[in-house]
């Protein structure tokens, strides 16, 4: 994933073909797993059956479509949490921890305001989640800017730490009595309830607003220009009078805010914070951002695609008996093809653009002091 001059082919055709190839490879995996699975037989049509029920589950009826949109909502936000960071040359794989922080803060605020009007309780809880997520993002940003500690390692460590701390707090301090498992009290009026008999909720609007907003921020404002300049070359940005350190901290906080909002939406939808909140939206954000080429609208499309897979997977597991975890496998294979772009181009005989000048990678190695 070296930043070559991006053409239409590079931005749209290659990701689409990567998805196609990944589905093909995954169907081979599904066929082979029939052999080692409980039924021990080869069924060449099984992938088709599985993909069909995946589609039906995701788009078959209004309820399915609603589920897809609801699943895509947090993915758009975590996708932005990773994608906006990549624009600044930062690889934020800590969306998971930022999601937990934001969700936990939102649940506490929700419990506090469970009697208030939803028109106040929901925005305040979402805002609180965003701020908490921003703080969780600021920490690795600060560490990167002032000590050079690479965000890939620090954010992974923070993911684990936040998980341990929050589950400890829910168990020991905020545990609501009367439930069979450790969880907080209900958020009451702050809950994002479904409308029109579906799972659709008002949180969807917030995610949809963030997409054009971040596009505007990145390409139409000075801050966005600085983010992209620092991502392209921090030293040059410094000599141009920008402050790479400040930009890095700001970008990581912004990323954390997006992830925090995603966590807040998920928790307010659930209505409480469970001590074990295992959600894949943080890691899915990496796939969404890479597949969407870090472009907000690309991120939106990728999030809908991945959301559809997540929403359709349960039906696939019931009808085709293919475990939902196949979605994670498909994600990985899509990413491999994306990284090996040159192979995709060869398979489909696409033109390979000439690389001019020195190869520029998106992320930098660790152990490098940040200037500025």
């Amino acid at each position: 994933m070296i930043s070559r001059p991006r053409s239409y082919i590079g931005r749209v055709v290659v990701p689409a073909l990567s998805i196609l190839l990944a589905l093909l490879v995954a169907s081979v995996i599904i066929i082979v797993s029939g052999l080692i699975g409980p039924e021990k037989k080869v069924d060449l049509l099984l992938p088709l059956v599985a993909y069909r029920s995946l589609l039906v589950g995701a788009f078959g009826n209004f309820k399915g479509i609603a589920n897809t949109i609801v699943a895509a909502t947090p993915l758009m936000l975590t996708g932005l949490a990773v994608g906006v960071g990549l624009k600044a040359g930062l690889f934020n794989i800590g969306a998971t921890g930022q999601v937990l922080t934001g969700g936990f803060a939102a649940s506490l605020l929700g419990v506090l305001m469970n009697d208030a009007s939803p028109w106040i309780a929901i925005p305040v809880a979402l805002l609180g989640g965003m701020l908490a997520g921003a703080l969780a993002g600021f920490i690795p940003g600060f560490l990167k800017a002032f000590t050079g500690a690479h965000e890939v390692v620090t954010t992974i460590m923070l993911n684990a730490l936040v998980q341990l701390m929050v589950s400890g707090l829910v168990n020991d301090v905020f545990r609501a009595p009367g439930f069979s498992f450790a969880r907080t009290a209900p958020v009451g009026n702050a809950e994002l309830t479904g409308v029109a008999g579906t799972t659709l909720h008002f949180g969807v609007i917030f995610a949809l607003v963030c997409i054009p907003l971040s596009y505007w921020l990145l390409w139409r404002t000075t801050v966005g220009f600085e983010i992209r300049a620092v991502g392209a070359n921090p030293t040059a940005a410094l000599y141009a009078g920008m402050k790479p350190r400040r930009t890095m901290m700001l970008t990581m906080s912004l990323c954390g805010a997006f992830a925090g909002l995603a966590g807040a939406i998920e928790i307010l939808r659930l209505g409480y914070y469970p001590a074990v909140f295992g959600s894949s939206i943080g890691f899915d954000g990496i796939t969404v951002a890479l597949l969407g080429q870090s472009n907000p609208f690309g991120i939106m499309l990728s999030a809908i695609l991945l959301g559809a897979m997540r929403a359709g997977a349960p039906l696939m597991q019931i009808q085709a008996r293919v475990p939902v975890e196949i979605i994670d496998v498909i994600q990985g294979i899509i990413l491999i093809f994306l990284a090996a772009e040159i192979v995709v181009r060869k398979i489909f005989r696409l033109r390979t653009p000439q690389v001019t000048g020195e190869l520029q990678t998106i992320t930098r190695t660790y152990g490098e002091k940040v200037v500025g």
Binding site: G148, T154, M157, M165, D172, I327, V329, Q331
Partner: protein, 361 residues
Amino acid sequence: MDFLLDIPVLGFILQFLVYLVNVIGNGHIAPIILGLAAPIALGAVCGVMNERSGVVNIGIEGMMLFSAYIAFMTALFVHQAFPTEPSPLFGATPALISGVIAAIAAGVLISLLHAWLSISIRADQIISGTIINITALGLTSYLNRLIKPFDSAGAFRSFRPPAGLIELPGVGWLFEMFTAVGPIAMSTIVLVIIVQILLFRSRWGLRTRAVGEHPKAADTVGINVIRLRYRNVLMGGVFAGLAGAYLTLEATGSFQNNMTAGRGFIALAAMIFGRWTPLGAFGGALLFMGSQAIGVAIRLAPPVGDLGTFLGGIQQAYPSLYNNFFTGLPYLLTIIVLAGVVGRSNAPAADGKPYEKESSS
């Protein structure tokens, strides 16, 4: 000297230090520390092999996880096909040994993907590593759901050193640390020393370091940069594979989804802490995981006096936070050490930069 322990706050810290020294010396904690540190050290050696030749590898986590799964399943299949009694030495069975071999093969296989992506395709190496982590997590979770094994091939047993050796005053705990462990943990220290010597005293080591610092210069004097990087990344996979086998065949005897739990990244931090040397990284691994062992020590041999009352009180009031604190200590230390060390440690100069031979010009 006892009056020192009564000083407020400072005395408390002193009490804690005295407790730590005692418990490591006499509490049978030392082998537990080495056991916790072994997969970290092996992962860090994998990192050293990669990065000294100029390839960043953050996919160690995924390599460990995948190898751990393959080790477990291979051992299980062989165990079901040829059940044998565990041998007196380490409780080894053909099943466990073939599990270790399969894990090494799996580690090398995944390394091949990383090598291909980052050396031949010249993809962004950090993204390549992340892809490996995501794919390994997805694939192992999928397979683990598909074939849910209820059986297990068991695990290697720790060696029982003669009691006289352990009870030697002063140094007994050191002997215990390196001998009262299983075969993989025991070989870790040997492997660390071998790689350390080879890296700084052999032709291969010199070439590796040259390629990691200045690939163009190395190329000029006739070193095949691409081939050397491939070889190093694949050899790194051997260590990641061993680390994975340790988790399923020596530490637990079972496989859980995402059981590596960030160990691959702690290994990276240990490598940075050890300034890209195997021995230094081993020290880092002992430091990080030693902090987690404190929690085990306190459970096995609770401290007495003020310290004991204090810790007991916290444990009573906040049991989950108390436990999670010790579990989380290595992660916290990793961040602190990374923040404190990175600025002053020098990564290999060409680390993370794809190499292209200028054949066209």
